[in-house]
Assembly symmetry: C2
């Protein structure tokens, strides 16, 4: 087997033993899972040859990106790990068509840098962008902080290339905005967590880079006025709000304790803290007026001023420099670290309809207080998307499943999803079995069996 | 069989003989296909019972919406036609969450009317909106004139409900912007043309209704300056262009001949005519200034004025009333009638990358001139999406397949799609077999066999 792998990718790119060990961990760091071997193909042809071999020999395969997944989808005990790290070329940036052709191993931050040089952005931003790869982002349909304006990963993908379980290459690398030619395999493979095929390349959409950003931290007493702030800003800017992130006072206190050297955003603590960012696309919004101020900043000031007067907003700081903007984002992007400050974290990544977020938090807190009165939480939310990361620190880790189920009941009551942006992986299989529509689960199993009849592609993930 | 059908939907809603006859035709009107019977269920439960019966008896089923499909997907000789016309309830309009819950039989124009009363729009607009139903629009992933700003049908759908081949109901009626919980069956069923399941309901996204529209007809000499007009407008408005439709001089002449009572948009003929519309979302764009003019109209005038001076634009008319706006749209929306003026039309609905449209038209015209020098054409395009409806009137109808293949070669050279927004249905099966990526076709067949093992759902459509 090892010899055959070496023939395909070259001896230097088949790792075993100690060399393979780092690939047995992923971000979630729950436990080590030793790979059979790690291979690092350099081309779609090599991935295809690897899959042909795996298919013939019934070898179980784990496709691997940047190992920043939150659900354990990139680990597989005893499996052949196919790491996409060498397929890291940005094949083409087409400024006229506003698209880029990329290989699966391109690191998100590298793509960001390359397209910004052309005055464009690839608007998929999240904390792990320095390690996460395009292939992993597509396979998990990653979300992040800009979904409000630009959509999830799947909304940013025009075409894909993938290698199926038997090594067949599917080439759907279209650079088109309309293409109704059969079942949308692109959307089937996006979010399939590597269980139906290995995504090897993609044509992604690029967007014009806003001429200016206006970023602010806002302190309020409750979520309702926060949502009304969002609505007013969307109206006055014509939908230019790029991010609208919620952090409660407890989260800011934890952050402050972790990084005592940082500036506090406000003198006093506020129950609800919003990090918001508006991106000005047209020159009339970012060209400074006679007063030297950008119109987009004036709009924000007007809205905030009005809400301060009405007593709906308690305090607000508008970033006056790129440095200050980065400090504001650093608070929000430390969420994983903050959640990791205490042991036994249970990270729940759930979504509810946008207008039910306040309800959700009230009911979830109440349910938790009933189940485990001394439990603590760490909460952040992409408020504009209805997506909340509700992290529980239980008094008794053995109660994990009971607590998860209790909070999931609240999610279900509100018509929400038990998995918003992190996916299922290994960590949410129990929930998937318990909560997913049974008809949908049956259809998923039929599709899995049809496309991967030997069950070699990332088994034990996504499907209970 | 008929008795059992009557038990499920009631005797009044099982049609046979002359009553069933109108259901044997669809818009394309190629030929009559007599149904076995037509049933009109009133609920998802009834559709489920019908499919259970069809599955047990191996009865072939054709799901039917508004019969405005362009590819023959809604006809099935000897099949049980399930018409969704009675499932026509708008179950809920949630203004706060900007979404609506609709049944599959809701006519598009009725949904438009209902949500506009709430200051919202459902931004899926095309000529057949007075008869097309939601279920059909989803099943074909309909496009239309506003894809440029709002995306295709699939981009407007948050959740769906569907009945599978064996009668299983899949309930994925989420009102969520993030939901990574397994394979995206929603996107698999959207665009599947009723071959994998029958869509019975949907949660659709609504958008704020622009405070004002500015609509114009622009005459130019070539496509390149038209694309630069689009880019300039997108920049100055921050992406507020809602439609950017191309019509050549020949199309306008045909329209004028068909409706001699209508006003010509321009005194003189122009090779390239663009119907464009900008939607102003924020009050600062549509609130009239001291000169009584809306800023959004001023932006358009400035851009057009500049391009007139530079000689890139030859003429332009901005609609000064709703009446004039409707007249402009009436020209574009008569495309189907104009194409039907001459016999033996071959409607090609293809897409190319946005920046290759000029290339495509030049090469397609040249290829056609080589193959059939006396052939005529009727062309309209959603220029902003790279989607062109290239209709050929051949001198010899028997040459249809040769001509189609010749134009498709041009599409393929430019990395385009042989089916942009109309879908495959029956009419494009040959092309699908000839042009679709073989690996993708194999995966589609495997999925079809897995989800509809008896092959009873709309057979003979989509998959060659």
């Amino acid at each position: 087997m090892i010899e055959k792998l070496q023939e395909i990718v070259g001896a230097a790119h088949v790792l075993t033993g100690a060399e393979a060990e780092p690939y047995g961990w992923d971000w979630a760091h729950e436990r080590f899972e030793a790979p059979l071997a790690v291979v690092r193909p350099a081309s779609t042809g090599e991935v295809s040859a690897l899959m042909k071999l795996a298919h013939e020999t019934r070898t179980v395969v784990t496709p691997l990106g940047g190992r920043s997944g939150m659900a354990g989808g990139g680990q597989g005990e005893g499996s052949l790990v196919i790491s996409m790290e060498r397929m890291n070329r940005i094949r083409e940036i087409r400024t006229g068509a506003r698209s880029a052709v990329v290989e699966a191993g391109v690191i998100l931050a590298n793509l960001h840098e390359a397209v910004e040089a052309e005055g464009l952005i690839f608007p998929l931003f999240f904390g792990a962008r320095g390690s996460a790869m395009i292939g992993g982002a597509l396979s998990t349909n990653a979300g992040g902080s800009n979904v409000l304006r630009y959509g999830n990963t799947r909304d940013l993908v025009l075409g894909i290339e993938a290698v199926m379980a038997d090594g067949t290459v599917i080439d759907l690398m279209q650079n088109l905005h309309k293409n109704n030619s059969g079942y949308d395999l692109r959307h089937l493979l996006i979010g399939a967590e590597g269980t139906l095929g290995i995504i090897t390349g993609a044509v992604v959409r690029l967007m014009p880079k806003p001429g200016a950003y206006v970023t602010a931290m806002v302190g309020l007493k409750a979520l309702d006025p926060a949502l009304s702030l969002l609505n007013r800003l969307q109206e006055v800017t014509g939908g230019a709000v790029e991010a609208f992130e919620y952090m409660p006072d407890t989260y800011l206190a934890d952050y402050q304790a972790m990084r005592p050297e940082t500036r506090r955003p406000f003198e006093e603590a506020h129950k609800v803290n919003i990090l918001l960012e508006i991106g000005a696309l047209s020159p009339r919004d970012y060209t400074p007026g006679p007063d030297g101020q950008m119109p987009i900043a004036s709009y924000l000031e007007e809205v905030l001023g009005g809400m301060l007067e009405e007593g709906e907003v308690d305090d607000a700081v508008i970033a006056s420099s790129e440095q200050q903007r980065r400090e504001m984002w650093a608070i929000r992007e430390a969420a994983s670290e903050v959640a990791g400050l205490r042991p036994n974290q249970i990270i729940m990544d759930v979504a509810v309809p946008v207008d039910r977020m306040g309800d959700f938090l009230d009911r979830a807190d109440a349910a938790l207080a009933r189940m485990d009165p001394r439990a603590e939480t760490s909460v952040v939310a992409h408020l504009g998307d209805g997506n909340v990361h509700y992290t529980i620190f239980p008094t008794d880790p053995a109660q994990k499943d009971v607590l998860v189920e209790g909070i999931e009941d609240v999610v279900a009551e509100l018509g929400g999803s038990f998995s918003a942006e992190h996916g299922i992986g290994k960590l949410k299989l129990t929930t998937m079995a318990r909560r997913k529509d049974p008809g949908a689960l049956a259809a998923m199993r039929a599709i899995k069996a049809a496309l991967d009849p030997k069950g070699i592609l990332n088994p034990g993930k996504l499907l209970p």
